[in-house]
Symmetry: C2
Subunit: 413 residues, 2 copies
């Protein structure tokens, strides 16, 4: 079998695990997700890799390096999905990592550094309430015991779920021991429309966007829709509408996206002036200074609109995540590797979060994107063209060689 | 007992019927509402009135006129409430009519025309799905059999409910026969803040607002809140927000009120761009031409915003009610009567609907308002100052004399 078609075969195989009518549901420590980890292990063994596993179930498949003392270069992504997931988000980066190592095998290319294909667990946070669970534990951002104590909606602790024969840890694998790291690279589908619209097939991620989420409440004054003159109303919905548009305008003027995705009107009757509107604000930018500016806009606009309309605004921060710039040297090495395929690359920010965010806390990290058809993501219909999937693996293999060379040179030069 | 305090006593007595923690719930043909009609009949009989009843339960209490051939002047309102009603909406106009007739008795003032205090049934439409039910049937706008066939949420037909001993028609009353009408006058609480803010205690209604209601759907394109750039979004909520503000602006520039009281965002998740927003539009104006203009604004704005944002708008008309101007001669007669109390009057539109809308189809009609404290309406806490309630009855009695004089002169002059 030609290497490049192997990535398609394996993705197809994984896509059967957790499949239902709306897509793929493969949450951490379920039988379907465990089966995906089993497949990873089987492919890794067949490729001659050395497998290790850590206490939360992250799997590492090592291709040895020629320098016994060199730290490993990690390459991978995650195997779990959201509840209505697709075949590529996460799975592509894991399968792509294994295939890239096999490409180097086939071409008899040795690297100085060991190359570890990694399958992180629980990136999506769709069962246990923590995103990037496996990589956060790996990077020491979340304690392993804290992670194992997380409970799902049914009250089952992760520790118990991982001890279960059906969905738990793989049996008989050696424990991964802590060790120094040289770098981390993650191959992923873009999950957005930027590359497709630009007609580009390979994207080098500049940064993973920082994110701030708020719940905002606008409290005005209710009243009869027929009897209260417009001039004396304190309509909570009209006030909220101004904020929605002001945030949109502020985002358009900056390198950012702002979304009001949830908005609830109370009492919510046709003939009653809205008394209270509760809405979410989700701000993302690869630049934390831009997020600061957007938060100031939210602050100033709610103050101004609130005073003018006699509507009281309050807000609660729900989430705050700093932007994670990708390592510049790694980006350049990936760009050189990608260039060897003959395809041009473009710089692209990642609006979605990824394991690379967490791993960046303990190693230089970077990401390589391939386009998503129609920008669709987190839906059963997410698609990437077969040619692009194959190209991404080819570029990743070349990038690993470039990274190995760069790091080897830097360490020994 | 002094006449003026009688109105307070009687309102207090009615307020016990259907009372619960959130206000008063006195829906048509329930035991509480039947009890209110019983009270009306008892008070009317005690005052020497002749009672009649029609097939849907409207009650008429006649004070005879001195001209046996003269058509009757009707004066009244309704006894039912919304589910969270207060003590004054409707009840005040019914009790006020009885009290005004008694004021004329006490002052030994004869009128040429018979004066019929009327208690309309089912104005609020809170049980059977038709507002102004009793007055619509009376005016021939709704067939009596059609009305009796209406069913409530429990599947009970109005005809059966009115045949029931607990909530049905009063027993042993003669049937009201169709006859010519001279005029209709309705005393009511304003249900809005205009008079209170103007410091005025008596309002002459210029017109009952026409009303148009729509359900509007904005269909945009969903997507990941982190990965779709602002510049290519088709956010249904941002589009709807523009319409909310455009309608508000259009209403502020005209003699109208426009309310978006209901707005639902789908899918409604913090991290998903809104795909679809469904919202209500409630437009009211005493001038149908203004409603036409507002509908054109809705049309133009949805077209412009929809094209600019690539969001598809559709709308369904839910309700359309023409404005009902009040009779000019009656308004002037009421103004003269009201002036005799020493209080000034102001012209005021009625944003809410009233039985006078229906009766206006078969007789000259007009309305007299007293202020609502804080403009509160359709809530248990609706209040009008005792002094204002008493003043309204006094002004109504004087207005009836003026109307009788005016009509008598016109008919015989």
């Amino acid at each position: 079998m030609h290497d490049s078609s192997r990535v398609l075969e394996r993705l197809h195989e994984l896509a059967q695990l957790g499949r239902y009518e709306a897509g793929i549901d493969r949450a951490l420590a379920t039988p379907a997700e465990r089966a995906a980890r089993d497949r990873f292990a089987a492919w890794a063994r067949a490729g001659g890799r050395t497998l290790t596993q850590d206490r939360v179930g992250n799997l590492f498949a090592r291709r040895a390096g020629s320098d016994p003392g060199a730290p490993a270069i990690l390459v991978g992504s995650h195997l779990d999905t959201v509840k209505t997931g697709g075949a590529y988000d996460g799975a592509y980066g894991v399968v792509g990592a294994l295939c890239a190592l096999e490409t180097l095998d086939a071409r008899k290319i040795a690297t100085l550094h060991p190359l570890d294909a990694v399958a992180w667990v629980g990136e999506e946070g769709s069962r246990f309430p923590l995103g990037c669970l496996g990589s956060a534990v790996f990077a020491g951002l979340t304690g392993v015991d804290e992670a194992l104590a997380l409970v799902d909606d049914a009250g089952i602790a992760l520790g118990d779920a991982l001890a279960d024969a059906e969905g738990g840890l793989l049996r008989g694998l050696p424990q991964r021991e802590p060790e120094p790291l040289a770098a981390y690279v993650e191959l992923h589908v873009e999950q957005g429309p930027i590359m497709e619209r630009a007609g580009m097939r390979l994207g080098i991620v500049t940064a993973i966007a920082g994110q701030r989420r708020f719940r905002v409440v606008a409290s005005g004054t209710s009243g009869h829709a027929g009897t209260v003159p417009m001039s004396i109303r304190a309509d909570a919905l009209a006030a909220a509408a101004e904020i929605v548009l002001a945030l949109e305008k502020a985002a358009l003027e900056r390198e950012a996206v702002v979304t009001v995705g949830r908005l609830v009107v109370e009492p919510g009757a046709t003939n009653v002036i809205p008394a209270r509107v509760t809405f979410s604000v989700d701000m993302r930018s690869p630049d934390d200074a831009v997020l600061d500016a957007l938060e100031r806009v939210l602050d100033e606009e709610t103050r101004e609109v609130g005073a003018r309309r006699d509507v009281r605004f309050s807000r609660v921060p729900l989430e705050r995540r700093a932007a994670t710039p990708m390592n510049r040297d790694l980006r350049e090495a990936i760009r050189r590797g990608a260039a060897s395929t003959g395809e041009r690359t473009m710089d692209v920010p990642s609006g979605a979060g990824h394991d690379a965010m967490c791993v960046a806390a303990v190693a230089p990290a970077a990401m390589l994107f391939v386009p998503s058809i129609g920008g669709a993501s987190h839906v059963g219909e997410e698609r990437t063209a077969d040619d692009d999937l194959e190209l991404g693996v080819e570029a990743l293999a070349a990038a690993l060689v470039e990274i190995d060379r760069m790091l080897g040179g830097a360490e020994r030069g």
